[in-house]
Subunit: 196 residues, 2 copies
């Protein structure tokens, strides 16, 4: 399939999912959000599940690109990671967070969704563990278990996501909880200015 | 309404919700799970939303009762709290966790759901803050900010819930993350034996 067609279908899926939610997502609604017919979409994706798998793959890919930052200082990289996970990337983010929450709730019934959420979790844990490891090596962070910190960070991020959706908690409040929590592990305050 | 009737309807809602999920929950399916007709259920609850509000009220009430423990030692109370939140109360818990996740995803569109999740969060934070406060007063825990620890605990619990549903992560793994995280705040290891 041409990459442009794929991108168009996935973007239409994103919009339809945010607007109607998982339960009311239909091929017709995805078609309405695109310039294509349902038959044309069906030609590329047999089922709604296949389409949502592609949507999640795309999400993970974009997330990985967002996390590739230029900084070499591990403190800057940690700040940029937190900016990336806590800063809305576009104005539809509220609906988007809800859509992801709905897909998470479907994971027990759709193995391909679960696999993708496990992938995303591994990517995130990997990035954090690497930053922490570099921070210890370069002497900016205290001795600590990078995998344990990574696991703590992702668990709190999962909690932050749920709290944004269910409670409407502002993300800067949960960001603060996260920063305070990992500070004693690192011996450095995330979010603080980095002086080389 | 008689309390027995209310209990029967709410229990039927619970079963129907766990079996069919939020999107496919209908008054008919709730009636099928009970000994009542849809007309009889409608007589007590006008809409599906009203019924789910009552279901969430009942959930919070049961949760509060579960948290009322007999122990006076704050360390024991913390252990009992963690047992209560991490131990499945019945074999349908998996589906139940998923159902709650679905309702959380609906909170942005249903204010009464959001209010109830905010209530539940307040109850949990209150219980944890009180235990920590008592622990500091009695000298079992180190000086720390009880509200901050309570906030951290509930955020990690929200993350634990999402990880159970989306990733299938065993709850004892997230419990360990939580215990390790609050240990330095309290100067005591949750889950360890309490010697008076």
């Amino acid at each position: 399939m041409e990459s442009e067609t794929r991108t168009e279908i996935i973007e239409a899926t994103n919009r339809a999912l945010c607007e109607h939610g998982y339960a009311d997502l239909t091929m017709q609604r995805i078609a309405t959000e695109s310039s294509m017919t349902t038959a044309a979409i069906h030609y590329h994706f047999d089922t709604k599940e296949e389409l949502l798998n592609a949507f999640l793959d795309d999400l993970i890919e974009r997330f990985e690109r967002k996390l590739c930052c230029e900084a070499s200082d591990p403190r800057e990289r940690l700040n940029e990671f937190l900016d990336a996970v806590f800063t809305p990337s576009d104005p539809t983010t509220d609906d988007f967070s809800v859509a992801i929450m709905e897909l998470k709730a479907q994971a027990p019934y759709h193995d391909p969704f679960r696999e993708r959420f496990l992938d995303l979790d591994e990517v995130m844990r990997g990035v954090v563990a690497e930053i922490v490891e570099d921070g210890i090596e370069t002497g900016y962070f205290e001795e600590t278990d990078p995998d344990e910190v990574a696991r703590l960070v992702t668990t709190i991020l999962n909690g932050a996501h749920a709290r944004t959706v269910a409670l409407g908690e502002p993300s800067d409040e949960t960001r603060q909880v996260l920063e305070h929590t990992i500070e004693p592990h690192l011996g450095w305050t995330p979010g603080s200015e980095v002086i080389a």
